[in-house]
Amino acid sequence: MRAALVLVVLGLACVPVAAADPPSPGVTHVKVPAGTPAVAWGAQLFGANCVTCHGPNGEGILAPVRGVGDQTGLGPSLVGVGARAADFYLRTGYMPLDDPYSQPHRSRVLFSQGELAALVAYVASLGPGPGVPSPHPERGNLADGQESFTEHCAGCHQIVAEGGYVTNAVAPPLNKASPVEIAEAVRTGPYLMPRFSEKQITDAELDSVIRYVIYTKHPDDRGGWALGHLGPVPEGLVTWFIGIVLLVATCMVIGRRFHA
């Protein structure tokens, strides 16, 4: 009986472990002599890490190609995406992506700061594109941000940015996103996310949205243990596994079993 229990517990523990981030494929670091311009260094890094999917000149590989070591080469063109998109995908660890069919997700960044800057410079050089934005959340209005976030973002990312489900994809929680990353994501529209331009969300409005997102990392939780801000599902778990457990335990203390 106890063995069965142990097996069940172990089995349940395996689920989150199995679903955790698969190990990153690893990146190839390229050493260059000092004084090499960033774009050149970036070109070498790109050649070592990105061409399998994005093509030798970042033009994209639009039909799957079997590459070295079982890697499938398939990826969009990076010409004209600019520093903004490159900075976003690289700093969040969305790229490099092991399997072109899987959803990019936040993971450990294996490039150094210098390498990141070089790669961004190189991708930006592929064609004219937007630069890295510089948001000012401190200038934003929290209430406007809440309203704008509810309107444009909460449907996917949940009202306090805890993330959610979109058919066939995850809209990630935003607790790790920096202001620059938020601005980049909003303007770029990574993966399945819509792309909101300055016409739709002005820079001032974006500052408010970013201010709100930062706020959601530490919202007003004066009610106590916040249960991840997920609402009734964890509340139901607490009801049964804390409330009912305590009360049934009390019943068991009070109630006696008469022995015949």
Binding site: L62, A63, P64, L74, G75, P76, P100, Y101, E147, E151, A154, G155, C156, G164, Y165, V166, T167, N168, A169, G189, P190, Y191, L192, M193, P194, R195, F196, S197, K199, Q200, R222, G223, G224, T250, V253, I254, R256, F258
Partner: protein, 327 residues
């Protein structure tokens, strides 16, 4: 003077003296041995409860305390917990736990018969009992119906035609949350917009729209809707046809070979609608496609409705397909 004080004390204290128990009285509750240790425990528990309750008063009064809700709950909860523990100790250790027997109840056939007889005899003067009962029941039902009639005033129970009504008709301009008019040129691809009818109440299911732009070649609208998407801009009701939630999700592929096609999605039960195909259901429980609103771009480049929706808006009911929406 002392004598008066002593007399007063004796008088007052004497009132609380217990009446002496006669030995001949048989005990109802069996005797049990005292347990001073348990009593001490109960006293301690009561003391703790008192302290906690006092603490909660203090927490309530002290405005500057941070996390006041937590301390209040902790203090009050613990106060009750200590009292609960005291009661349980009393129950298990300080009162006698007897095991008594009682009879389970049964039925009472004689009384039942007597009742039957009573009812029968009470009514045996009647010659047409059944007819009278029917008449009485009829009167009662009629009065019941009469009393229930005002319930129908609670809402338009007989006239559900307002379910077809939307504030959209040909020429109504689309505005955003702030009331600004939508210019066709401002509507970009790869994102989604919420639009409302100008000068109309927004808090109704027929009002909000979700607007998206595609390249005209990407559209595969149903028959008869070729003119509904000027310049590739399409508009749909924002209210899901399954259970009435607002459709606030839009997915758009960055790289089509590996990502699913664009779709409008409802966050409640994940009904997924194809915005290029007239709101066809791709996934999820919705039983009807998303109603599409025909659009037109007027002379000043503003987006206007070119008619009413392709179907009734909101969740389905028995008449939802009977005819289209009305303005």
């Amino acid at each position: 003077m002392t004598r008066w004080v002593i007399a007063l004390l004796v008088l007052v204290l004497g009132r609380f003296r217990r009446r002496p128990r006669l030995d001949s009285e048989a005990r109802i509750v069996p005797a049990g041995t005292p347990d001073r240790r348990a009593e001490n425990v109960v006293l301690l528990l009561f003391a703790c409860a008192t302290l906690c309750a006092a603490a909660s008063l203090f927490v309530y009064a002290w405005d500057a305390i941070p996390n006041q809700t937590q301390f209040l709950g902790l203090a009050l909860g613990l106060a009750f917990a200590f009292v609960s523990a005291a009661c349980i100790v009393i129950g298990r250790r300080l009162v006698v736990t007897e095991e008594l027997e009682e009879d389970y109840g049964t039925t009472h056939p004689e009384e039942e018969e007597a009742l039957d007889q009573l009812v029968a005899e009470g009514g045996d003067r009647f010659t047409r009992k059944r007819l009278l009962i029917v008449a009485g029941a009829g009167a009662g039902t009629a009065i019941g119906a009469a009393l229930l009639a005002p319930v129908a005033s609670l809402g338009p129970v007989f006239d559900v035609s307002s379910l077809y009504r939307t504030p959209w008709r040909r020429g109504v301009r689309l505005v955003d949350e702030a009331g600004r008019v939508f210019l066709a040129d401002d509507v970009e691809e790869e994102t989604f917009y919420t639009a409302y009818p100008e000068h109309a109440d927004r808090e109704q299911m027929g009002a909000p729209l979700v607007v998206v732009r595609f390249k005209p070649a990407e559209l595969q609208l149903p028959e008869g809707r070729a003119m509904w998407a000027p310049d590739g801009i399409v508009a749909y009701s924002k209210i899901c046809t399954h259970a009435g939630c607002a459709i606030t999700l839009y997915r758009k592929p960055t790289f089509a070979p590996v990502e699913p096609k664009p779709a409008l999605i409802c966050p409640c039960h994940y009904s997924t609608f194809d915005a290029t195909k007239g709101g066809e259901v791709l996934f999820g429980p919705a039983g009807r496609p998303l109603p599409q609103l025909p659009l037109a771009i007027d002379g000043s480049g503003e987006l206007r409705a070119a008619g009413n929706f392709s179907g009734a808006v909101g969740p389905s009911w028995w008449g939802v397909r009977n005819h289209g929406p009305r303005s």
